[in-house]
């Protein structure tokens, strides 16, 4: 059975919501009642059926609405998608990775047929039927990375590796948690991670860099990252801070359950074959507090996490203003019972 794509918005009237199935498969990022940074990288292996990691590229009920939101972001600000010229080979690598994975795992929605370099791509949910020559940019209506990422959920950064350093040299970034591709483009790993608190002192950034420099083809890895967002807004970019920053002041005890969202990023990294570049995918999942508490284990655990969060982290994640109100709301659902280890619902 194919996915039922929802009609919903991530701006203005904010009609986004999760179905019970989507809540159940939400990538809840806490495997115990306390949280601190760790490299927490694992192999990006297929996970349990119907989970968010069943397939390497996860497509869900929000696909069509997210792609429409991306198109709106790009129309207002084309600089959300940029690629330095030397990344063209990596762009084609990404076309191959995404089209192959989407068509293999969601054949009722996407299909890819190849005759040598002549490829035929069909995207049924978005009504696209495209024949093109792999490697020939002139045969696509957009540059290769832009073309394929206008049709795939998640942000994507293409990272070049030179002289034992990584560089953010291309990307499609429209669903970001307050960082800017236009600001970061061309920066090295150490430059773009400059603002992250605590992690540098723990040596985490250096170890993670060393690990990624040796990332192997055929062995992708993943990690989860999280923050919180007021209103189900995908585009919380610095460029649009004037639109969403003020949202943080609108949380009240009456609306907190619907307004405050846990925002989880499934971050995955692949070594690309032709370019030796790395693709960093950042797939954003949103869940309302009122949806989260329908899973009793998460309703107990999340207020405990928020209470124990170091102040620097709360500040960095931008949730200081509404943290207490959120804890108060969530505590109604925490009866103090112990929680079972691991991420998944009981």
């Amino acid at each position: 059975m194919g996915l039922q794509f929802k009609t919903e918005t991530f701006r203005d009237d904010f009609t986004f919501s999760n179905s019970p199935e989507a809540i159940h498969r939400f990538p809840f990022p806490f495997d115990s009642d306390s949280y601190m940074y760790s490299v927490n990288i694992e192999q990006h292996m297929p996970g349990p059926p119907k989970s968010h990691v069943e397939f390497p590229i996860d497509i869900d009920e929000h696909y069509v609405a997210e792609m429409q939101d991306r198109a709106m972001v790009l129309k207002e600000d084309p600089l959300r998608c940029q690629a330095l010229p030397h990344m063209l080979t990596a762009e084609w690598d990404l076309v191959e990775l995404l089209m192959e994975s989407m068509s293999k795992h969601y054949p009722e929605h996407f299909s890819l047929t190849k005759d040598g370099d002549r490829w035929h791509w069909v995207n049924r949910p978005l009504g696209i039927d495209q024949r093109f020559t792999f490697g020939d940019t002139a045969t696509l209506p957009y540059p290769p990375m832009e073309y394929v990422t206008r049709q795939c959920q998640g942000d994507f950064a293409l990272i070049d590796q030179r002289n034992d350093m990584l560089f953010m040299d291309a990307g499609m970034i429209t669903t970001q948690a307050d960082w800017s591709l236009d600001f970061d483009i061309g920066m090295s790993w150490t430059e773009w991670h400059g603002p992250v608190p605590l992690a540098h002192d723990l040596g985490i950034m250096d170890r993670a860099l060393k690990f990624l420099l040796n990332l192997q083809q055929g062995r992708p890895v993943r990690r989860l990252n999280w923050t919180m967002t007021v209103n189900p807004r995908l585009d919380t970019s610095p460029e649009n801070y004037h639109k969403w920053g003020v949202d943080r002041t609108t949380v009240t005890p009456e609306n907190v359950g619907d307004k405050v969202h846990l925002r989880v990023e499934l971050q995955a990294l692949w070594r690309l074959p032709r370019s030796n570049a790395i693709v960093f995918s950042i797939r954003c999942y949103l869940i309302k507090m009122s949806e989260l508490v329908t899973i009793p284990k998460w309703g107990r655990r999340f207020p405990r996490i928020l209470k124990g969060l170091p102040p620097e982290l709360a500040e960095y994640k931008g949730l200081t203003r509404y943290r207490d109100m959120t804890i108060k709301y969530l505590e109604q659902f925490d009866d103090g019972a112990p929680t079972s280890p691991g991420f998944f619902p009981d």
Binding site: H86, M87, T89, D160, Q161, R162, N163, K210, N214, Q216, Q217, G218, R219, P273, R274, S275, N276
Partner: protein, 320 residues
Amino acid sequence: MSGGVEITVRVAEIEQATASVKRFRLASASGEPLPVFSAGSHVVVSMDDGGHRIRNPYSLIDRAPDGLSYRIGVLRTPNSRGGSIFMHERVSVGSELVITMPVNLFPLIRTGRKHVLVAGGIGVTPIYAMADELRSQNAPYEVHYAMRDEANGAFAAELVERHGDKVRLYRDDAREIIRVEEMLPNQPLGTHLYVCGPEGMINAILAGGRAAGWPVENLHSERFLAPPGGAPFSVALAKAGITAEVGPHQSLLEAIEEAGVDAPYLCRGGACGQCVTTVLSFEGELIHNDHYLTDEEKASGTKIMTCVSRLNGRELVLDL
């Protein structure tokens, strides 16, 4: 398995390219296309020598247009610990081998304005792939290839055929040597140089580059070390609770693997750092042969790269 995903291949063709070099065409055993790779990549070939496992890294020359095979070149080395002799004498058309996924420790720098490729002897294998890639991208490049004599220039004819006057050949027997002081000073700013060949040649080219005022970031080399032998010693693996003997012609990593412990590795040539292991204690002197650890790390006596380094002494205790 610690080296990553493995692929079974069958030898489809062997070509005696020179008196001492054979080129092998490795075909996918499953019939599925082999992974695309970026120029400069190598695979580690795993050979089963009567229950004794030998693993050697070889650079990939090319991938057939249909994707179903790779080519590698193997120089028969007189002081071989078994790998190149095994490839030359025991491997025939139809033989099955296991290779790792391609790994690239010698990549082209895609921001480079121009690329100068320098190869000596069997070091031509990654350079061959790099030249092909630069040609297909219409990037400016030149190739300098030094060989002993015409009969040893296995790749010379193919290089000239593919790259024409971008190739310059040097024959030792005609007393033609690469003059680094002529080659480097007039290159445009932003040029990158890549050298692969015998140790002495790499050192001379890199020194020449620095003398010409090139930034070290623009000078690239790949040297795969064959693990040097030495006096035998014993290794104790603290976590596994195993003690093993390291033979005079065996590497530390090979002895660990033979003892049944799945230790990490990637290049098996002292370059990538994947096999770095914590040393708990040792009696004697650590012989560091890698190009990865810093001098301070080597002097600290707390880290060792098991693929090429060893102990001159009685016993080494590792955190494995």
